[in-house]
């Protein structure tokens, strides 16, 4: 059984089909990519998978459980964590506090814990802090721990978002154009990290990318969409040679 199964997914916006009858699987332990030109509907697929958009029709299932009509925070609790195309950090909070938010979905102290501070709450706070610091280290931004997110360089903002996602201990990590705006070295480092996420942390990674060459290097499977429809799927080499894919990219001049 695939970790994530998407079948006949449709997402319409007042008549425009952003996602049109899309079906695909993400296998457990894989690095899978969804690529396509600008406006092809990639982010819309993510938004449907994470509950931010309500799919017009179709089925999305995670480990056999349907995600249709499930609230985003519940989907996060199930172990599906996303990043955003246009980095969305908590700007007036520190890097540490940002990354601590990752631990929210699998910890539980609430109002009374906060006010009365029982032992369970203090233990959990310590665990959240340790986990956040661990992933800040892992991503390599320890020196920025106390910075406010809004004062970070663009690359560090991206890195903070990854650390935040990892701190949630995801089963499936959804990265929306993680390389956008990064320089060459940072991109190389990103590729390395993504392989590590899978190999060291055992996370299944699903990446949206705009840039074909980048994902070709690390993906086992590539799904190509154009105008919301799937036009190719398979191993990187085969997809790259696919005439429909070449046309989609050349035809759209991107």
């Amino acid at each position: 059984m695939a970790l994530m199964h998407v079948e006949n997914l449709k997402m319409h916006f007042s008549g425009i089909a952003a996602v049109d009858n899309l079906s695909f699987d993400v296998q457990e332990g894989s690095i899978t990519s969804l690529i396509g030109p600008n406006g092809a509907g990639k982010t819309s697929v993510f938004n449907c998978m994470t509950g931010f958009y309500k799919a017009t029709s179709g089925e999305i299932a995670f480990m056999g459980t349907s995600l249709i009509n499930i609230k985003p925070y519940k989907i996060t609790e199930m172990g599906i964590i996303r990043t955003f195309q246009n980095v969305r950090l908590f700007k007036n909070l520190t890097v540490l506090e940002n990354v601590m938010s990752g631990a929210h979905s699998n910890t539980k102290q609430s109002v009374f814990g906060a006010l009365l501070r029982p032992a369970a709450q203090r233990r959990e706070e310590k665990e959240i802090l340790e986990r956040a610091e661990h992933y800040i280290d892992y991503i390599g931004i320890s020196d920025k721990k106390g910075y406010l997110a809004k004062n970070l360089s663009y690359g560090d903002q991206r890195r903070t978002e990854w650390a935040r996602a990892l701190a949630a201990n995801p089963k499936l990590l959804l990265l929306d154009e993680p390389a956008a705006g990064l320089n060459h070295d940072e991109k190389e480092k990103l590729l390395e990290l993504i392989s590590q996420f899978r190999d060291e942390l055992g996370i299944t990674v699903f990446i949206i990318e705009h840039d074909i060459d980048l994902v070709m290097k690390i993906s086992e499977k590539v799904i190509v969409v154009n105008f919301g429809k799937k036009i190719a799927e398979g191993v990187p080499e085969a997809v790259r040679k696919d005439p429909l894919v070449i046309e989609a990219y050349l035809g759209r001049d991107s």
Binding site: I81, R88, F90, T94, S101, A103, G113, A114, G146, L148
Partner: protein
């Protein structure tokens, strides 16, 4: 290092913070020994605003919700206590749990349907609700209509009848300390961080697993409860309450104190409230400026909001 950075790193230092807080608290505790009733009452008024501002800060500062009717929250507490004491002859302390429960119920009724909508709706609904509370209080017999409730008996505390202004000075000082502790405990907890995540970016908060509608409701209810308790104490301190004490102006004053001091930053909110309560007093007796003090105050507020939208309290960290 720029002066601003130096000030903020100095304020960050734990030791300095602890020492300054202890010194300030000691000063506040000793103040009644060398001031008369008049000044104590002015400072009491500042404490009262601090309580309101700290309560509203949970809603506005911590969670980023817009509440334009905070006066209704403390009106509910004040009337609950006032009615239970006057009409049903309850002991003041026994009215507190009831005041808390009614605050919870009313804020859930308002918050549950509205907090799911876009945040601007809450502003409108809270504004409307505050007017409903005020108009209801004006027209019901049990709330004393336009006259309000008068001659509410003073409570006793460990055998002491709280009648002197000095008593109320200390009661409210203790409350301020409790509210500050509550604020800090919330701020440094999983719950409080979740509120900050919502304030900063609601979608990203949801994506990190925060049940945003539930947490917004928690923040709203908690703010309402703190306001309700403040209202209960206000009723017995003043011994009389009327619909005029809870008008739109009050809501705006408290909201401005929170914004002025720096949304979400506890020391800033406390100073904002103090400034708000004390400012008009300082200028009252000076000719010309005294008459125009509210105009001057308004201009100052506009200047602050334009120049430092994050409030006057310095930003933490880099």
């Amino acid at each position: 290092m720029k002066l601003r950075d130096r000030i903020s790193s100095w304020l960050e230092s734990k030791f300095i913070q602890a020492a300054a807080s202890a010194a300030l608290l000691a000063f506040m505790a000793l103040l009644p020994l060398f001031t008369d009733n008049y000044y104590q009452n002015i400072v009491w008024n500042a404490f009262f605003y601090m309580l309101l501002a700290l309560g509203l800060n949970i809603i506005v500062g911590y969670c980023g919700l817009c509440d334009l009717g905070y006066a209704s929250k403390f009106a509910i507490g004040a009337y609950t206590t006032g009615i239970l004491i006057k009409t049903y002859h309850w002991n003041f302390w026994a009215t507190l749990p009831v005041s808390i429960i009614i605050s919870i119920v009313s804020s859930v009724i308002i918050g549950l349907p509205t907090l799911k909508l876009r945040s601007d709706y809450l502003a409108i609904v809270t504004l409307g609700f505050a007017e409903i509370v005020r108009i209801t209080a004006r027209n019901l017999k049990i709330t004393g209509a336009a006259t309000g409730l008068i001659a509410i008996p003073r409570p006793t505390f460990f055998g002491i009848r709280l009648v002197k202004i000095t008593h109320w000075y200390y009661v409210f000082l203790i409350l301020v300390v409790i509210y500050i502790i509550i604020s800090f405990r919330i701020r440094n907890s999983r719950f409080g961080r979740a509120l900050a995540y919502i304030r900063e970016d609601e979608d990203a908060a949801e994506a990190m697993g925060v049940n945003t509608s539930l947490y917004k409701l928690y923040a709203y209810v908690l703010g309402a409860v703190l306001g309700g308790v403040t209202g209960s104490f206000y009723a017995v301190k003043m011994t009389s309450i009327s619909p005029g004490s809870f008008d739109f102006n009050q809501s705006v004053n408290v909201l401005l104190a929170v914004i002025l001091g720096g949304m979400g930053k506890v020391p800033g909110v406390v100073l904002g409230a103090a400034f708000f309560a004390l400012f008009p007093e300082f200028f009252r007796d000076i000719p010309v400026i005294g008459d125009m003090r509210m105009l001057f105050f308004g201009l100052l507020l506009i200047a602050v909001i334009i120049a430092k939208p994050q409030g006057l309290w310095p930003e933490r960290n880099k």
